[in-house]
């Protein structure tokens, strides 16, 4: 009897709460902490990750029956490195300013745990459509996380929020806390958000449990 395969919708949605890369699995910490000094940085980093993740998930899923188990990780890395090079070159060519800000963290996507994690734990075992949904879900959740952290740090650290040319002006009387733009600020924001998400999940779980005692 075949195990009932989860729906495509579930594969997409699970990345946001249950398998949230940043707050539930705590993978991809390096860019999460390093580039989230502003909302825009977080957004572009997220977009790059979505592209790489979808690309790699598709190919890992396609080749999952031919990849020998013993050397699967090197093969994954090759499959991941290809889109990373594409992203890097495109960024360099068309948005050099952003490329300068994100800098080393773009090539470092190769070793980002999220990508390898999704390849190893999902795409390697699932058909292509599910893998695409998984990549989109995880990638978008990751992008959202980076944007939220980035927005909080940008606002507290500079007193304003800039989205392209649209700049929310600095609030009067508010003195920005420089620490939010430094790594400690990143850790504090991450920790607080992680705690809040855990509280929300725990509350929801409790409610579910009281509704159906079988849990």
């Amino acid at each position: 009897m075949n195990e009932k395969r989860a729906s495509l919708g579930y594969d997409f949605i699970k990345g946001f709460i249950k398998e949230n890369p940043t707050f539930a699995l705590a993978v991809g910490m390096c860019p999460t902490l390093a580039v989230t000094t502003s909302l825009v940085n977080g957004f572009w980093m997220g977009i790059a990750v979505i592209f790489v993740l979808t690309f790699s998930n598709v190919f890992v899923s396609l080749l999952r029956k031919v990849i020998p188990d013993e050397i699967r990780v090197p093969i994954f890395i090759i499959l991941i490195a290809t889109p990373v090079v594409i992203v890097e070159l495109v960024m360099k060519a068309y948005m050099p300013a952003m490329y300068n800000i994100l800098g080393i963290f773009v090539p470092l996507i190769v070793v980002n745990c999220i990508i390898l994690h999704r390849a190893e734990s999902f795409a390697h075992k699932n058909p292509i459509l599910n893998s695409v949904m998984d990549a989109l879900g995880s990638g978008m959740a990751f992008t959202l996380n980076l944007m939220v952290i980035g927005a909080i740090r940008e606002f507290l650290g500079t007193g304003q929020l800039a989205i392209g040319s649209l700049v929310f002006p600095k609030a009067p009387l508010f003195e920005p806390a420089v620490v939010m733009l430094t790594p400690p600020g990143g850790f504090i924001t991450l920790g607080v958000l992680m705690a809040l998400l855990n509280i929300v999940v725990a509350r929801a779980g409790k409610r579910k449990q009281t509704e159906s005692p079988r849990g």
Binding site: E175, A177, V178, V179, M180, P184, G185
Partner: protein, 325 residues
Amino acid sequence: MGDRLLVTPPPHVKSAKTVQGIMLDVVIALCPAAIAGIVLFGFRAALIILASVVSAVASEAIYQRAVKKQVTINDFSAVITGLLLALTLPPNVPVWIPVIGAAFAIVVVKQLFGGLGNNFLNPALAARAFLLAAWPLHMTQDWVNPMSYDAATSATPLAGFNATGQTALTFKEMLLGQRLGSIGETCILALLLGGIYLLARDVIDYRTPLGYLGTLAVGTWIFGKPGELFQGNPLSAIFLGGAFIGAFFMATDYVTSPVTPRGRLYMGIGCGLITLVIRLWGGYPEGVTYAILFMNLVTPLIDKYVVPRYYGSGHDKMARKGGGR
């Protein structure tokens, strides 16, 4: 006899020492420094102390109410945190600085790690470090001239002292605290009074302040003057800056310092060495905050390796050597 007898495990008598009493002793010991700060830097200092203490106590109460824990503001530990934080702030900072700092100290540094007894950093110092990183300009420039109460913009004596290796202050000025500096750190006499009170009440161990100030004084004497050995000024090294308040009130914090007497000595020496290194060769003019915070982090390690000699250990040692009776 209708009354029931109480049955509890021994011992059936307990010492009069309580957590609350100890904390109250620390508050009392900090009072001279706080009063000296108000006298030296005026109404502004009083406002900051008040804001900090109120914010600390309120944060503790609100947090504990919010997470449905027992509210423990009556143990005075939040008062100490608020007071200590205020005493390490420049007198002219905006009032919201101590408010945010105290809330950060209580909620993030203390309560999130489990409340009293479980924080791994000294809350007041961690909050000070946070404020220093968040609003560096306020934290390094909002000085007030003592007694005249007008804002000053010059660097603190310690910063000047580092550049020249000498200080223009007289011994009496240093002792009474008539210099630029944080609210509670300048008046050495008041701090000493509080420190002696704590020592007399057996609240703190003399080893920590002794190790701290001793190491700092000797180290400064040896290396204090650039290019020359044994020419530094040890007195101004411990009288200027925050070493005194740090040695007596911060490095001796029970929760974040080692539990054994020998460990406490190492804590003092470690603080002294790191302060010395930061002051003489580091980028900051003052190293007390980071020195103590660093040693807070090392404390579990000290507790692991610096253990008291247990009774009868000589026999075990001999048995291990294969000799013995």
